[in-house]
Symmetry: C4
Subunit: 192 residues, 4 copies
């Protein structure tokens, strides 16, 4: 079984998820600069989610390069990941329209947590099939970035009720450790 | 004629179908947990339909791997399948927003039935072209899962007027026999 | 320059066009059979346009198989075709929601006419590049189906003001001559 | 790392961007020719943005043909370009619905400027990776079209407050220098 269609289908779903979020930024009914102001929170939540989908696409791309075989179980684990990713536009729109209130911020964190859980679940299935000699296993053996991300999501879900800003900062921090290719950050993380 | 574009086009349509359903889960205008409550039926219908599209993508993927030749007739049978699958978002949204009432549940079953009928029709066209020695013919020769699914849909369409819950359970049951790779279920089905 | 991305991009646009039309079939706010009745015209226009996009995808698929070289001019002619095809969802929704009134039916015909014109324009560009020995030139040399289609569209645009039903029948007739692989119809057409 | 998925994902996003813009052309609630009149500005802005996305797809296609290697940095620069391109439907809809008023025209120009900046940024990353002997470097060495475009966008953003029509003419002019393959224009530009 080839992995081409798995990649093509996942790319299609991710491309649509990333693009339909823009439909939530409603065009203002006025033509002043002020009419853009209420859009700022929706725009910020769009930027955050765009970055997250970008990170998932990037990592998914790398993970599948290590894959040689694909079976039914991997197809379903991949669909499970796509399911949770497909809920990101809903979460994005809710946190933006409700000005980052506690409940939406907590639910958004729960969606991100489930995305991460289903991503690791897919990764484990692939490693199980490819074996411990695979390049994927070696690459993610000490996956500290992944573990820190999971811990941040788990913390952010209840902390949103203390202050939604703590959760927001945690979501931004997780995004940053994945996109900034800073050797010092990498080293700091590896020292932990 | 190559099958690459047939796969790419079908993947594109399936990816869009699976993703536009999320647009039907309208973001609440409030930020309380209670505001999520009315979304539960829409969410449940989304989960069910996501699983169904996943099953079709999965099976379509397997079916086309057995295909070597593609002709105009197969292209049209494939489009006929995509047509019925494209109605799933409509059915999904209707059963969710009308709290699984009888008429929507019956129509949803009819859409699923037509998806299955057009799937088998495509399968037969492929077998006719590939011959009875093809791996596809051998794989689906005793296609009991397929026959049980058809029977469930045919039963669910009128039974929705007795009780929509019976239909709902039948739709869930069909989904489960396709996604659970349980040897005992397979054996039970093969004993029938 | 390879034609792979041209195909992939066109497949993507066609898959999205075919699927976003379903968003125009608004889910009824009631759960009775009667609530489906006002959807019948929108549904019929969806079926017609689905078939048209299917025909274009099918023909585009065949045309590009004859193509070996791709240049900037072909890319732009292809985009010109995609532009007119992208207006089909608008026309579809308008004829359905306005119960096939004269003006929408005429505009719908104009969109179909421009799709056909841009399709032939793309075809001519490809033949010019590939040469008169190409398989594409031989295949479309006596393209009677194409000429009849053009004539029908040109007739249907003004005839919609005599009676929109004449235009409607012409659109259905054109669709049928492309999808029915009936040798007798082919022979009748070839005798003209 | 292969560039296939980078192309496939970008094609998917561009295909969706180009197609969702059509959803902004709302179907009139009447069936007269007059009911089409208020759609004219939205339609014109659709045409302009369709051409721009077409130009970007075309140039992106050419640029990636020169690419042999892909790394994480290129993936992120590509996502940065897709982010700004994803804002084009918003800008398009706003200038169309607000009859090309100053603020929307200026913001639209800013989006186009950021698209161009991120495109050149991606191009520079690729040249850095491929080296100065690469065909891409040679092709864009004296990229006068690109520099003129940038200058036009930078001028159009403030000039929209003098007159939005100046900005509009600048956007049209930039589009024309990219799509008209006129040797004389090319020569005139090269003489500068």
């Amino acid at each position: 079984m080839t992995k081409n269609r798995l990649e093509a289908f996942s790319d299609g779903v991710l491309a649509i998820i990333i693009t339909i979020m823009i439909l939530e930024i409603k065009v203002p009914e006025d033509h002043s600069f002020e009419s853009l102001k209420p859009l700022i929170p929706v725009f910020l939540s769009y930027v955050l989610s765009f970055v997250y989908i970008g990170i998932y696409w990037n990592n998914h791309h790398h993970m599948l390069q290590a894959v040689k075989k694909v079976n039914g179980s991997i197809l379903w684990h991949n669909l499970f990941l796509l399911f949770w990713l497909s809920l990101i536009p809903f979460g994005t729109s809710w946190i933006g329209s409700q000005l980052f209130a506690s409940v939406p911020m907590s639910i958004y964190g729960f969606i991100l947590l489930m995305c991460a859980v289903s991503y690791f679940s897919l990764q484990n299935k692939i490693i199980k099939l490819e074996g411990k000699d695979s390049t994927l296993y070696k690459a993610v053996e000490k996956d500290k970035k992944g573990k820190i991300s999971l811990a941040c999501y788990i913390a952010a879900v209840p902390l949103a009720f203390v202050s939604p800003w703590i959760s927001g900062l945690l979501y931004i921090a997780v995004a940053l450790i994945w996109i900034i290719p800073d050797k010092r950050i990498e080293n700091q993380i590896n020292k932990l």
